[in-house]
Symmetry: none
Subunit: 412 residues, 2 copies
């Protein structure tokens, strides 16, 4: 791994991408693949079918990076401008590739119909370019060199683009291997508290470089080796692991449900959940994991007070005294669920997701949780910021999953 990695830039071409009428599916895939191939991807662009503007971008990016890849704009119609822009950017004429012309003619002969003249546009590539054969569609791609930089143009439909990139391009542009990295997944810690705890380990030029991605309370802490010093990477990972052990729930992936199900299956422990304000989201998250049917007994969405009483045996008097959103009711839900489902591990949640139903005493965002494992129960309260119903539900869901995982790990 050299210190100065060679750099790449990507462009997805099409008016419909810029206006949001279609969502690009190529840039993220290509970015990931190129990173794996050892390239440092500097930026990616969505650009309209504007030949002049595209020429300018190609010239700029080929001046800055050693590899530029475009997707799209290689079809037969007049608004497909990529091949003309590419030829201009590398100062070459376009010429028809004989094999591609023959293939197109053969295709139309087999359909017993005359080939529309526009179709021949698809066979044009810059003089001196390498053809990138397209086994998945009619427009081939090409790879052309100007000075120190290479430009690859790939078709736009994701299936064709992936095919041509995998079959034809990647072997020609392999740089080395991706930088070594470790990811640790945490829950229950804020991003800013994490930044304080890690201090200058998070400096932009630290080695390994430490980055954070946050999503509904789950933090992905990424350690990426810049120098290729693997001992240093492992040493830093071990230090992070020690400092943050109370919050780390996985080093495999960031899905709390997956971590919980995998722990349940490993220990052959059955589970059931009773949900009020999350409305089934916890059960749904668990049910997304293949193999969960070995562990998941049932989920009850006891939305109404009647259902809490009828399904879980929560005494109406308890609801009247403490309200449906209370530690007492959360505990009664968990206890009732453990008794009626027979599951070893049970989780219950009741709260105020909003927008209505809040009060000064019990604001929107107030949520009570209870978790039970083999007859031992614990209640927990959280008050999430009132940032909308979906927000409170999503945080409540992750919190219950995390509390259940914690109970399992602590054997409580």
């Amino acid at each position: 791994m050299s210190a100065a990695r060679r750099t790449a830039a990507l462009i997805a071409v099409g008016d419909e991408l810029v206006t949001g009428d279609r969502t690009d599916k190529n840039l993220a895939w290509l970015g990931k693949e190129l990173t794996q191939l050892g390239w440092e991807v500097k930026e990616s662009r969505l650009m309209g079918d504007d030949e002049g503007r595209l020429v300018g971008a190609l010239e700029q990016l080929m001046g800055e990076c050693q590899l530029v890849i475009t997707t799209g704009g290689l079809g037969p119609t007049l608004d497909d401008v990529t091949r003309h822009a590419a030829a201009t950017a590398v100062n070459k004429e376009l010429e028809a590739d004989a094999a591609t012309v023959a293939g197109l003619e053969e295709l139309w002969r087999s359909r017993d119909s005359e080939m529309p003249a526009a179709n021949l546009r698809q066979a044009l590539i810059p003089v001196g370019a390498d053809l990138l054969r397209n086994e998945h569609g009619t427009a081939p791609g090409f790879l052309v060199t100007l000075g120190d930089a290479r430009l690859a143009c790939l078709p736009g439909p994701p299936r064709e683009m992936r095919g041509v990139a995998t079959d034809e391009l990647f072997a020609r542009v392999r740089e080395g291997s991706a930088p070594a990295r470790r990811s640790l997944y945490l829950f229950g810690l804020s991003e800013s508290r994490l930044a304080d705890l890690l201090g200058d380990w998070m400096d932009r030029d630290a080695d390994p470089q430490v980055g954070v991605l946050a999503s509904t309370g789950v933090l992905e802490l990424k350690l990426i080796s810049r120098s290729g010093d693997l001992a240093r990477l492992e040493e830093r990972a071990a230090a992070v692991r020690e400092q943050l052990s109370s919050w780390i729930f996985s080093e495999e992936g960031g899905d709390l449900a997956e971590a919980l199900v995998s722990a349940l299956l490993e220990r052959r422990i059955s589970v059931a959940v009773a949900e009020s304000c999350t409305g089934g989201a916890v059960a749904q998250r668990l049910s997304q994991i293949p193999g969960v049917s070995e562990a998941l007994r049932e989920g009850l969405v006891t939305y109404s007070n009647d259902a809490k009483a009828a399904r879980l045996g929560v005494p109406s008097a308890l609801i009247e005294e403490h309200g449906a959103v209370s530690a007492e009711v959360a505990l009664a839900m968990a206890e009732g669920l453990a008794a009626s489902s027979g599951a070893n591990l049970v989780g219950a949640v009741t709260g105020i997701a909003g927008p209505g139903g809040g009060s000064s005493e019990k604001p929107v965002g107030r949520v009570h949780f209870a978790v039970g494992l083999d007859g031992s129960f614990l209640a927990t309260e959280r008050t999430f910021p009132d940032r909308g119903r979906a927000y409170v539900q999503a945080w409540s869901t992750n919190t219950l999953l995390s509390l259940m995982l914690q109970a399992l790990r602590e054997g409580r």
Copy 2:
């Protein structure tokens, strides 16, 4: 709409977007909204957390376009470089916004803990910038002017970005009006069958122009007036409505759960669901709709056969004879749920989501549904293509929601 529309460019900031570790969800949404607001979006970029490079892009794009919008890179950590790059690009210093500082301090006081120092970075905005308040998170955005060009910096999490853009930004950057349009939402019809039914109304140069967007069986049929001839738009909308009435479920929005809940609340009808293969997704979709607590009695995720028997009274003999995935068991689940929950409208679903559990007789993707309204029940079977567990679950969820809505509308 004038001939020379003013132009905009977008930048989504984050290493994880360029490397494909996370897929950007902001650019397509912003591109669509800005087009609606009368802007011509020239290009969109994904850029890493590289301050120098970002400054260069901002300077270039503010030279070419009248509006540049960034998303992301406004968090509290050192790899959040957007606000510093923006300040450099517009030749301003950063200063702390007093109201934002006060809000952050208040937030941490309410948590009874000391605010991490890193948090204060989030309050920094360029001198002279307009603050764009963020009601959905802690990092505000800002809007700053340099010469003829404006630069808006928005937070990166899609929910926050959309909130700040909608609440604070759009009113300040409205350019004109978008073309008149009508949207109709359909379920149960394939895209190609729809194209056949509509024939040359879907021609690219028809007026109104007709477009289709498909998502898990929901088709959004968009009619966009090209000429501004509103009478013609309404006439075509009426003709489409008549021809496709059996499939249209809404003209307000494409969420089947929202359409169902709104019909339930309007008619004061209660609902309950029993789910096996969808694992709580139907209840979860219903529970996302504000006000649903007036209608939703409960949801049961009867994943195991024991739960189907204990909670819904499905006879074990019936499961043994026909299998848990059968019309008979779906009907028994719906009947048992109607009896035990007392809800007027009930829905049940049992199927094989995969990856395991399929057979030649009952392949992965086979799903049975039953819907009951006031004591009258109907079972329906579907076999979805086996494109993965999440695919089968998502189609099953939309199908049950659609069947329940249909039952309600037909008063069956």
